[in-house]
């Protein structure tokens, strides 16, 4: 893009914008002024006060803009740091409240069991509540069961289309197969499943109830091991996974465990409540009458 190029006639007008820009980069006013009085400007014109003032202004404004830009960057980063600190504070507060809620729920459950033990109808109700708490994952569970471990393929074996990765539907298939095989309680990487738990993918991560999980995925299922394990291993899902271990390099293993501990599902939501009318307490055992 030298000045010489501008003189040749161009057949296409598309380049004329850039050519004009670079050929008029030196203000044509200089050439016109030189043409009009060729004898004038020499060296002394450079020291005129107008020029010095203009140069000082240019330098001053450059310095000011540099300072201003740095100041704005500092302000932006300090705002960001304040926001990050705020988020961390709120997260800590939420975690503390959540722990407090769990403690209070345990207290309530003790008080309820105590109140319900006063008569036969109450005890039947308490038994029903205990069974429901187990089924809806409101209480932690302990017992024998199996652990299914799913693992992404080592990154060298992963193809661009994500063939070596565990997707949300893989985990859904495994969990459904475990329920069908007779599992009584299931959790994955320390998170308990309820009937409302959602397993989703977001980008590369698998989300269980909006919490991201990372490979390897340990799915623990509590149940009668001698029926649960064969039923699951024979299921279509398990067989499919076994072929995938050799095809795509996925990790898949099923092991028995004697003492699994599954946590309770966090933060159950109360949607509907009915008051139980208070019934008279049973008479005390030693005071006569059958109990």
């Amino acid at each position: 893009m030298s000045i010489g190029r501008a003189q040749e006639p161009r057949r296409d007008g598309s380049m004329s914008l850039l050519v004009d820009m670079s050929s008029t980069a030196l203000d044509p006013g200089y050439e016109e002024a030189a043409r009009r009085n060729p004898a004038s400007e020499g060296r002394h014109g450079r020291r005129s006060p107008a020029i010095l003032l203009a140069l000082t202004l240019i330098g001053l404004s450059t310095g000011v803009v540099a300072v201003q830009t740095r100041r704005d960057a500092d302000k932006a980063s300090s705002v960001r740091r304040a926001l990050v600190a705020d988020v961390q504070d709120r997260t800590r507060a939420t975690d503390a409240l959540s722990a407090q809620a769990t403690t209070l729920r345990a207290e309530v459950s003790l008080v309820r069991r105590d109140a319900l033990s006063k008569n036969a109808a109450g005890r039947a109700l308490a038994a029903q509540v205990a069974l429901l708490e187990l089924v809806t994952a409101e209480v932690p569970v302990r017992g024998p069961g199996i652990v299914v471990v799913l693992e992404d393929a080592v990154s060298a074996e992963r193809s661009a289309s994500g063939d070596g990765r565990i997707f949300d539907r893989d985990i859904q298939d495994v969990v459904n197969a475990l329920w069908a095989a007779g599992a009584e309680a299931i959790s994955i990487n320390g998170q308990r499943f309820t009937s409302l738990t959602a397993i989703r993918s977001a980008g590369d991560a698998v989300l269980v109830d909006l919490r991201p999980l990372a490979s390897p995925y340990r799915v623990s299922a509590v149940g009668r091991v001698d029926t649960l394990e064969p039923a699951f291993v024979d299921s279509a899902t398990a067989r499919r996974f076994k072929t995938w271990t050799s095809l795509y390099g996925l990790g898949f293993s099923v092991t028995r465990q004697d003492a699994l501990r599954l946590p309770a599902a966090p933060d159950p939501v109360l949607r509907h409540a009915v008051a139980v009318s208070p019934a008279p307490a049973d008479p005390a055992p030693g005071s006569g009458g059958s109990s």
Binding site: M21, A25, G29, Y30, S48, L52, G59, S61, V65, A66
Partner: protein, 110 residues
């Protein structure tokens, strides 16, 4: 020599004294500086070509700054501020590079 000294003194004054710019003018200052630099490079090139004229320099400097700030201001009013300022910076950048190349040819004969 003295003009270069004035330029350097101006930059140092700006960095040391850190004058605060009125908030309404702050968005236009960077574009105005680029426009002023364009006029400056043109002036240096004209000086090396031997056709420097003080009046042309002052007029081109003032008009460059005013027109650039005006274009960005108009763009902000019309809602195309970002795109117009990008366009202004592109054009000024091309002119600065062209003049700098010519200056380099003069100075290093290369």
């Amino acid at each position: 020599m003295i003009p270069a000294l004035a330029l350097v003194l101006g930059v140092l004054a700006g960095l040391v004294f850190e004058p605060t710019v009125p908030v309404s003018l702050q968005p236009y200052l960077p574009i105005a500086v680029v426009a002023a630099l364009d006029a400056l490079f043109g002036a240096v090139r004209a000086q090396l070509d031997g056709i420097f004229n003080e009046r042309v320099f002052v007029v081109s400097f003032v008009s460059n700054v005013l027109v650039a700030a005006l274009v960005v201001f108009l763009g902000d009013q019309l809602g195309v501020g970002g795109q117009l300022s990008t366009g202004v910076v592109v054009v000024l950048g091309i002119r600065i590079f062209t003049n700098a190349a010519a200056i380099r040819r003069h100075v290093f004969h290369a």
